[in-house]
């Protein structure tokens, strides 16, 4: 395996930060080596210095995309940490539907949900399943479920709707598995009905949020932990800007907004926390 020098670590971590906003410090030597080795060797590089130069010079940005795919962590479980989904099902969605149902029965109720770091899609599909189970007939609703991620590979996998057989069979309750997925060889494929509810596209959270529109619910779980404090502040400020005034923000269960964004107030429901604007 290609060894990385401490000087190269500085070079590469700075480069990764510039292209993705993911901040890795010098203690992440092992992670860098294990995740980047294959790409560096594939590119025929004899050192990480050479690899860095090659990636920077690559106008097609193919190497850059491969590095992002390799560095960004991909969550692989459906309904991982059940509490946010219970919170959505029992508290947030019922409240939102009350608030959003138009006075005129002919009009549809609109719900807009954004999974800001959707990875390979499990979180957003889980939200879609919760909505399907809660609402039953979706014809009275306009539901916009958007998933974004910085990794092309993650977006491609999320869009395919196919998931690893072993992970699925152990991560998901049987009734949900058989109701919403069909076996396809060594994978399980999400049902067309659920697939049709969601959209995925590539997006870097470091960029401005213009053109995204407003959202009723934003899920931004376990991604800000890879950002610097300054970038976290910017990120949650931008989220505050695109959240409806009575909207909801969900972050990872071990994350905190203390000292990051005073515009959000934490609120507790049972054993979960969600955030709303001041």
């Amino acid at each position: 395996m290609l060894k990385i020098t401490s000087e190269e670590i500085k070079l590469i971590t700075k480069y990764i930060y510039d292209i993705s906003g993911i901040y890795l410090d010098e203690s992440k030597k092992y992670l860098l080596e294990t995740r980047l080795n294959t790409i560096a060797e594939e590119q025929g590089c004899a050192s990480y210095h050479e690899f860095y130069a090659k990636a920077k010079a690559d106008a097609s940005k193919v190497i850059e995309r491969k590095i992002i795919d390799a560095i960004s962590t991909n969550e692989t479980l459906f309904f991982r940490d059940a509490s946010p989904f219970q919170l959505l099902q029992h508290k947030i969605f019922p409240e939102l539907i009350d608030a959003r149902t138009p006075k005129t029965p002919a009009l549809k109720t609109t719900l807009k949900i954004w999974s800001a770091a959707s990875s390979t899609g499990q979180e957003l599909y889980s939200v879609a399943i919760v909505l399907q189970e809660l609402l039953g007939d979706l014809s009275k609703y306009t539901i916009k479920l958007l998933g974004t991620d910085i990794s092309d590979a993650a977006i491609a996998q999320a869009s395919s709707g196919k998931f690893n057989k072993f992970e699925m069979e152990r991560g998901l309750a049987r009734d949900k598995l058989t109701r919403y997925f069909t076996p396809a060889g060594q994978t399980w494929k999400i049902s067309d009905q659920i697939r049709a509810m969601v959209n995925f596209r590539k997006f870097n959270l470091m960029q401005p949020f213009t053109g995204l529109g407003k959202f009723d619910v934003v899920l931004c779980r376990n991604v800000a932990i890879y950002f610097t404090l300054e970038d976290r502040k910017k990120l949650f400020n931008k989220i505050a800007d695109i959240l409806e005034p009575d909207g909801y923000l969900l972050i990872g269960s071990t994350e905190s907004l203390t000292g990051i964004c005073p515009r959000f107030i934490p609120k507790r429901h049972l054993r979960s926390i969600f955030y709303q604007l001041h």
């Binding site: 060889g185 269960s253 071990t254 934490p266 926390i273």
Partner: protein, 189 residues
């Protein structure tokens, strides 16, 4: 030591016996069924890790149907189908429907044992991953509760400070009155 339990379904008594002996000699726990219906009944009452089934069996439940029944019973059960060379297409179809592998007749037992070793290996890795996930969940859950408590406490303190600041800098009342009101706020928080 092979600890997996295996159900063999084949209508040919000679093949059944052969499977039973070879697998038992290799240390597996083996149950046999003479047809799909009997195998399905056994799946109702007993937990198996692996089902080895002939694709073509007389009666209402053939190999493909048995595969479906087994997967419905327990999603992590592994099914190996046995097929004649002429019906490879059906075997491939079985794999699309969730079979882990297929073997051609006449069965090469060395090959079968290799596949079973692989299945055992994957199951052990999955169990290990499951155990680690469980440990992570427990730790994460407890960390989450602490963080949530701190988050709520911190928010209350912040709001209290904001109110104190408002009271203490309220130019409409005199200094004594401001301090009184600030102390009152602190006492009733």
């Amino acid at each position: 030591m092979n600890t997996m339990t295996i159900l063999v379904a084949d209508d040919d008594p000679v093949i059944r016996k052969l499977f039973e002996q070879r697998l038992k000699n290799a240390g597996y726990e083996v149950t046999t069924a003479a047809n799909g219906t009997e195998a399905a009944r056994l799946l109702d009452t007993t937990v198996f890790d692996v089902v080895i089934t002939d694709l073509v069996m007389p009666g209402a439940i053939g190999g493909i149907e048995l595969l479906k029944i087994a997967k419905e019973k327990r999603v992590d059960i592994e099914v190996i189908v046995i097929t004649a060379h002429s019906s490879i297409d059906t075997a491939v179809d079985a794999m699309k429907k969730g079979a882990v592998d297929y073997l051609e007749k006449p069965v090469n037992f060395d090959e079968l044992f290799l596949r079973l070793d692989k299945i055992a290996e994957v199951r052990a890795m999955l169990k290990n991953a499951g155990d680690l996930r469980e440990a992570m969940n427990v730790t994460e859950h407890s960390a989450a509760q602490t963080i949530q408590d701190l988050e709520i406490i911190n928010c209350r303190q912040r709001m209290l400070l904001d109110r104190l600041e408002g009271v203490l800098s309220d130019a409409r009342s005199n200094v004594d009155r401001r301090i009184d009101r600030a102390l009152h706020l602190l006492a009733t928080r």
